[in-house]
Amino acid sequence: MIDLINVTKTYETGTHALNGIDMHIDDGEFVFLVGQSGSGKSTIIKLLTAELKPTSGSILVNGYKLESIRRSSVPYMRRTLGVIFQDFRLIENKTVYENVAFAMRVIGASNKEIKKRVPYVLELVGLENKGRRLPNELSGGEQQRVAIARALINNPTMIIADEPTGNLDPARSFEIMLLLEKINALGTTVMVVTHEKGLVDRFTKRVVAIDEGRVISDGMDGYYNYEA
């Protein structure tokens, strides 16, 4: 569960990235977050992952109060989230398999558990044959799928994806969205940042639109109803 109450974020450069965001996402919801480039979408995600602290306001993520969270609790908070980054963030000298297994090691999973779960998840994203590849031996879209696999691996309460289909062709993008929808149906909360009007329009989900650091529309009509 996510709760943002009157959150603002001003960067050290003086940019007011967020100017009072109120947003509530219940467990099990599927939400698209849309908005122009520079409107503050990634900033919201960085706040949710405690990469950044809010300038003011309060943020609740899966029971952790992020505006006052202790440093030592941050890792445990992050384990409740599966994050897919805009720039993939794969470890370059580890294979695809290790990149995914790695997230399990971090939380102390046994080798047995790892050996069982990683191949399953790789198959889920269609990379069953690329486990031994290094990230830079993959196409952009394949890398994005590795990132998705890593986010799924620990069965997080919530998946947060920043442009998970930015580098995928329409068919693949649709597949990934179907995958996320399936995961959502199994009870995981999903929040997807995207620019792709086509995709958003094809799924009838809640859409939150952001502009200049404010929520300008929030509806269940399922349309990318924001036009620049």
């Binding site: 030592s72 890792p75 992050r78 994050v83 963030r89 790695f102 971090v106």
Partner: protein, 293 residues
């Protein structure tokens, strides 16, 4: 850190040593070089110390008694000398004995004209504390009946000075080289961390605790330090014995040189402590700096 992770993280640390092969090699080489130099100086100091002790143990003060004193009178002066604090023992040397000493191994015919009456009664004195030789010499000169006091303090003093200088130089060099080793290990770890900057950022994002992130780097530094220490110990051993034998072969008994095996345990302890210190602090230095950022 959970049990499951321990083996994995240990393995990561080990693997890192090989992955940063050149750097690890360099770090170990430098550590070994520094430790060998440090150890060499310790050994030189230790042996020189033995030599100085020897020389000082043999140090004697010779007191000549007024030539008009009879042997009995001279001997009574001896009891006065024995009263002095720093005098351990005063051995009486009669004029005859003094003459024999004087002629020594030389061609006796050379000294045909000499007889015992040319010499004076003497006392050969050993001291409690050789360092106070100057004061004792002054006291001896005040004793009634004492004509001259000869103390051959120069060689002992020179050696003692050399020893002091060597001590200070050794400590200075050891300190500098320990810091050099610390820095090189720390830099190796720093390099390893920079190399995995992104990896660390990603680890953090997927919920790794700081100790999970640190452990492999710590293992890496530890391995480097310990490996350097072990290597340096054996290299030192070999080097020392080669040099010892070379010196013994020259036949020059300039100084005492104990075999390495006599110092096996203290040397091993020094190496181990230095290696652990360098490895642990070297890596801690970098790990702290890095994770703070």
């Amino acid at each position: 850190m959970k049990h499951n992770n321990f083996g994995y993280l240990l393995g990561e640390g080990f693997r890192a040593v090989f992955k940063h092969g050149f750097m690890s090699f360099a770090a170990i080489c430098i550590t070994v070089a520094c430790l060998v130099i440090i150890n060499s100086f310790s050994l030189i100091c230790y042996n020189l110390n033995l030599t100085v002790d020897d020389v000082q143990k043999e140090m004697r003060i010779v007191v000549c008694i007024d030539e008009n004193y009879t042997e009995a009178e001279s001997k009574s002066v001896g009891s006065d000398i024995n009263l002095l604090d720093n005098v351990e023992n005063a051995r009486f040397i009669s004029r005859e004995e003094a003459l024999e000493n004087f002629i020594g191994d030389s061609d006796a015919s050379l000294f045909d004209g000499l007889n015992a009456q040319s010499m004076r009664d003497q006392f050969e004195i050993t001291l409690v504390d050789n360092a106070k030789v100057e004061e004792t010499k002054a006291e001896l000169e005040k004793v009634v009946g004492v004509a001259d006091v000869y103390a051959d303090i120069e060689v002992g003093n020179a050696l003692a000075t050399i020893r002091t200088v060597l001590y200070i130089a050794s400590i200075a060099i050891a300190a500098v080289l320990l810091v050099v080793s610390l820095i090189i290990i720390s830099n190796t770890i720093r390099l390893a961390m920079m190399d995995r900057r992104e990896e660390i950022a990603i680890m953090k994002m997927v919920g790794a605790t700081n100790s999970f992130i640190r452990f492999p780097f710590f293992v890496e530094g530890f391995i480097l330090g310990v490996f350097g220490a072990v290597l340096s110990f054996f290299i030192e051993w070999g080097l020392y014995e080669v040099i010892r034998k070379a010196i013994l072969n020259t036949g020059l008994e300039v100084m005492k040189i104990v075999p390495f095996t006599e110092m096996l345990i203290p040397m091993a302890v020094i190496c181990a402590v230095a290696g652990l210190f360098i490895g642990i602090f070297g890596s801690l230095m970098s790990i702290r700096r890095f994770l703070k950022v």
